[in-house]
């Protein structure tokens, strides 16, 4: 190879590098882009133009437009050919096809160039003066800033927030019925939701305080065990705690042929009307008395009055739920209606309940404030 075929040598190197690159197990996108752009848009057309016209007929602008245009045409016709092959239009097939074609054209062009002088079309001298360079640089800078400004503006474009709620029948082993319940928040800030589920109008379960940050998702698989053989209608409702009375989202599905429960419906643990105990703030090493009073329970859900004295101090209401497995969750809300603490725990066989808690910050997430709590039923 002589120096006059430098363009063809570079072409071959790029074609080979594309094939090697696509075979590598991991890829850095920038390199992939740099390598693939000439292979897709320039090299096949350029080498074919060299084969067909060599350097004597075409001027630079003609050569440039034919290189790009022919490359596009070769890509399109190549796609039709690859479609006929079992491998189809994949990265490796593209790299092989375009690389092979470029190699063949390059070798052909080199063969046809033998014996011809090196000097073909002389390119006009494109020397930039400092002044011209500065102007071009400024133009590029203004365009780059424009793109950045546009992208930033679009990313921060305000949109009305919304929340998705869904419920779908879920396939279960042994043909038992279940529903998949999910929530995804696209609100602008963290939102606390209450989710309820009913079966044929009867409350099944409630999630009293589901806190979701923007883009955060919550989902549960809820088994359904109807007591009768008829179709069972499951309804899910989503409430925002800042607007607790209004149904925010609502879904429902009807399930058919669910296996009925052979036993009586599982009973929920019965809560006492008053509990007392302690609450300990681990971060501040502060222990206080905790009173849960006026507890009213309706199957899974309960609510009542909450008092803390000696140390932490405060009172308000709480609401939550207890599962058949004696898992308990409730949220303490202050007198202004803001959820402050979230409690999680389990009921023991002797009736005592213990667990952990965390404090909520303004974004509705657990803050650094956290600790342990334990209460026992108390006679009034």
């Amino acid at each position: 190879m002589r120096l006059k075929n430098l363009d063809l040598i570079v072409t071959l190197i790029i074609a080979v590098m594309n094939v090697i690159w696509i075979l590598l197990p991991s890829h850095l996108p920038v390199i992939g882009i740099i390598l693939s752009l000439p292979l897709v848009f320039v090299l096949p057309g350029y080498t074919l133009t060299e084969v067909l016209f060599r350097k004597r007929l075409l001027e630079t602008s003609h050569r440039l437009v034919l290189s790009i245009g022919l490359s596009l045409a070769i890509d399109i016709l190549g796609g039709l050919i690859l479609n006929l092959l079992p491998v189809g239009l994949e990265g490796i097939s593209w790299a092989m096809f375009l690389g092979l074609l470029t190699t063949i054209f390059s070798l052909l062009a080199a063969y046809l160039r033998r014996g011809t002088p090196m000097n073909g079309v002389r390119l006009p001298k494109l020397r930039l003066t400092l002044y011209e360079g500065i102007l071009f640089g400024l133009a590029v800078l203004v365009i780059a800033l424009s793109i950045l400004y546009d992208a930033t503006g679009l990313a921060q474009q305000p949109h009305p927030g919304f929340t998705q709620l869904w419920m779908l029948p879920a396939a279960q082993p042994g043909k038992s019925c279940a529903v998949q319940l999910g929530v995804r928040s696209f609100e602008s800030t963290s939102v606390t939701y209450r989710i309820t589920m009913t079966m044929n109008g009867t409350p099944v379960t409630t999630w009293p305080a589901v806190v979701l940050a923007p883009q955060e998702e919550w989902d549960r698989l809820v088994p359904i065990l109807p007591t009768a053989a008829d179709a069972v209608s499951i309804e899910g409702r989503l409430y925002r705690l800042d607007k607790p009375q209004a149904v925010y989202r609502e879904v429902h599905v009807t399930l058919y042929s669910c296996p009925t429960s052979k036993v009586a419906p599982t009973s929920y643990p019965v809560l006492a009307s008053i509990y007392s105990g302690t609450i300990q703030d681990i971060s501040m090493n502060l222990s206080s008395n905790l009173y849960l009073q006026e507890i009213k329970q309706h199957e899974v859900n309960f609510n009542g009055h909450f008092t803390v004295d000696r140390g932490m101090q405060g009172n308000g209401s709480f609401s939550g739920m207890i599962t058949t497995t004696k898992h308990i969750q409730f949220t303490f809300t202050d007198t202004t209606g803001h959820a402050i603490l979230s409690f999680d725990g389990a009921m023991q066989s002797d009736g005592t309940i213990s667990g952990s808690y965390c404090g909520w910050n303004q974004q509705g997430r657990c803050s650094s404030e956290s600790g342990l709590w334990s209460v026992a039923p108390t006679s009034s």
């Binding site: 245009g69 190549g78 375009l98 503006g153 998705q164 879904v251």
Partner: protein, 754 residues
Amino acid sequence: MQYCPSCEAELADHAVFCSRCGGLLSATVAVDEARDKRRSLVAADDIEQQDTLVVRSLVAANDIEQQDTLVVHSLVAAGDKRHSPSSVDVQPLAVSINNSLLSTLYHKVLGNLPTLMQHVFAAVLTRAQDPKAEELPTSRTSHQQMVQFRASVWGWLPMLTLTSAWGILSVVYAFTTLRYFTIDVTIFFWLGLLLIFVPPMVRLISPAASRFERIGLLCVVGICFYLVNVLDTPFAFIGHDPLLHTRTADDITSSGHLFTENPLLPASPFYPGLEIVTNALSTLSGLSTHDAGIIVLGMGRLVIILSLFLFYELVTKSPRIAGIATMIYMTNPHFLFFDAQFSYESLALPLATLVLFAMARHATVKNGSRWMMLVAWIILGAVVVTPHMTDYVLDGFFILWTLMSIVQHPARLLQSDLAKTALFGIIISVAWVNLPGNPVVSYLSSYFASAFDNLKQVLNGASSARPLFANYAGQPTPLWERIMAASSVVIITLCLPFGLLCLWRRYRYHALAGALGIASLFYPISHAFRLTTFGSEISDRAAAFLFIPLGCVLAIFITQFWPTRRLDRKRTSFIVSALSVMLLGGVVLGEGQPWQIFPGPYLVAADSRSIEPEGINAAIWAPSYLGPNNRIATDRVNGLLMSAYGYQRIVTALADNVDESPVFFSSTLGPHELSIQQDGKIRYLVVDQRLSTGLPYLGFYFEPGEPGAFEHTVPIPLEALTKFNTRPQINRVFDSGDIIIYDVGGLINAPEKP
């Protein structure tokens, strides 16, 4: 033949500048020689005696056009063998006028007109056939200026690139502000467009710019206009057509094969050129379909600018006319947005213009012309599988070009490469149309049948014409935009006859120029469809093709009627102002009302203005939880989203012969609605309750054929959209506030998957 002292390129005898490097040749000598020729030609016994008589009367009247008159003589007598360039591979354009019958005719006509009219007609004819319209000013100062201007190859390109960049910033400012506020800053958008367009246009009209500079300026303007479209929605393709093609591209990527189903645009998978190139780039580079598509279209934009310029240059033999013509093409209503979007026509047009360039170049190449024809055929093959309409228009133009060629040289029919190319194009087009499953014939025939039927009704008075400058939601177009749009059409229509006259006087023996002239005549006709409801799109879409000949005709008109020696600031400003009106009017014509151009809050059934995060995220949710390819019935916008983002199978009248819209319009869910769902085997209904909040901006909510389409007077009642809640067999599986998804599988026993 002469040679450029700078690059030694072979040039025609009459050349003043080097067509390759733009260098100035010995202009003074050329002018002097031209003067000598004029004298000798005036004295000659001219075959165009009638013309001469008319002109002489003007000379006697000490007309200011004296020099032009002399020029006419030189042209008339030119015959014009002496001016025929004899370069190696470039054949001359015939510029002679020796049709005595015509001369006699217009002499008789002109002779009976008043003197003033004679004067006007003579001046017009003189201008139209001026062969030295591009001759440089002869004054010493002007020459010095020219030489000074050409001191750098770059010329004004760096400075004008900067002004265009400011134009981009101005456009972006308008877009960004409108995303946040409702204040009217649209003026910055229009100002930005003018900043991109006007300074380069002024420079391109000037004779001082080098060929390299002209090409550079055209590329800058073309790419900046492309950026305007990209920066409107930089992160994703938003819009009807881009979303349709995104689905096809994603299907190719996921399956690895072509010809998958796309019910929203069944023809799209059969014309996958754009998607193939996008697939090649995305699979090789790892880029997403969107990012790869942006780059592919950018390359397409570069190709169309270059190939148009080179094509026009081959026709007119003038880089200056070619530059002006290319800029005129950029004023076409679809150039800024429609032909820059991710749609098959956006890549097909560049390839089609490249075919035209290749065949035009083929006609001028003596050695190696068969290879140039091979190039044209390869690209033509790619055009056939890229978009159907561009292919058919290209075939039609080749037939016209061939006919023009045959009329001039009947004996060459069998040897004509042009005829072979036209035949090749037709054969592969027909073969592709007959590909099993290709629905394009029924797709196009039903559309054009509706359009022509609609036009017939309007012309007969059986149907009222579509109201211009108003949308179906009742918002009128701002007055100044109406004026711009109407003015652009008026300017083009008024200039067209003069452009054709210039073409006739200077290029009528050039088959390609003749074909371009005839093709441009379709422009006024195409506007008739604007009065129709179904065919209004034809006018806009036709513009992308018709502006190719129009650009040439109007550029010749400009250069003939405002020759370089008479150009001054006043005249240049006049020309640029008219072209700016064409640009702004074209944008208004192509995009319609401001809501179609600018970002802003949600609007009902308004394509890109109806696409927002809630709809997109509902579509993204669907494949994750429902799986792909469920048969879904929904409105136009959510159908697009569910197809492109949700990979669902949308039930449409086009693909399924089922109009599902009555299911949504009806206040009850009766047997008729159930039978529609059963016919369409619909599994899910996606209901957007916002449809009840307003009239559709596009004129319809679901499909153009829906009951009451383009005639809705009240929005769909909310009760009609919420009636599905009460049927126990229908599951309400998804709720995001405005968008509800119902599972109707239990109601109609639809299959799980198609």
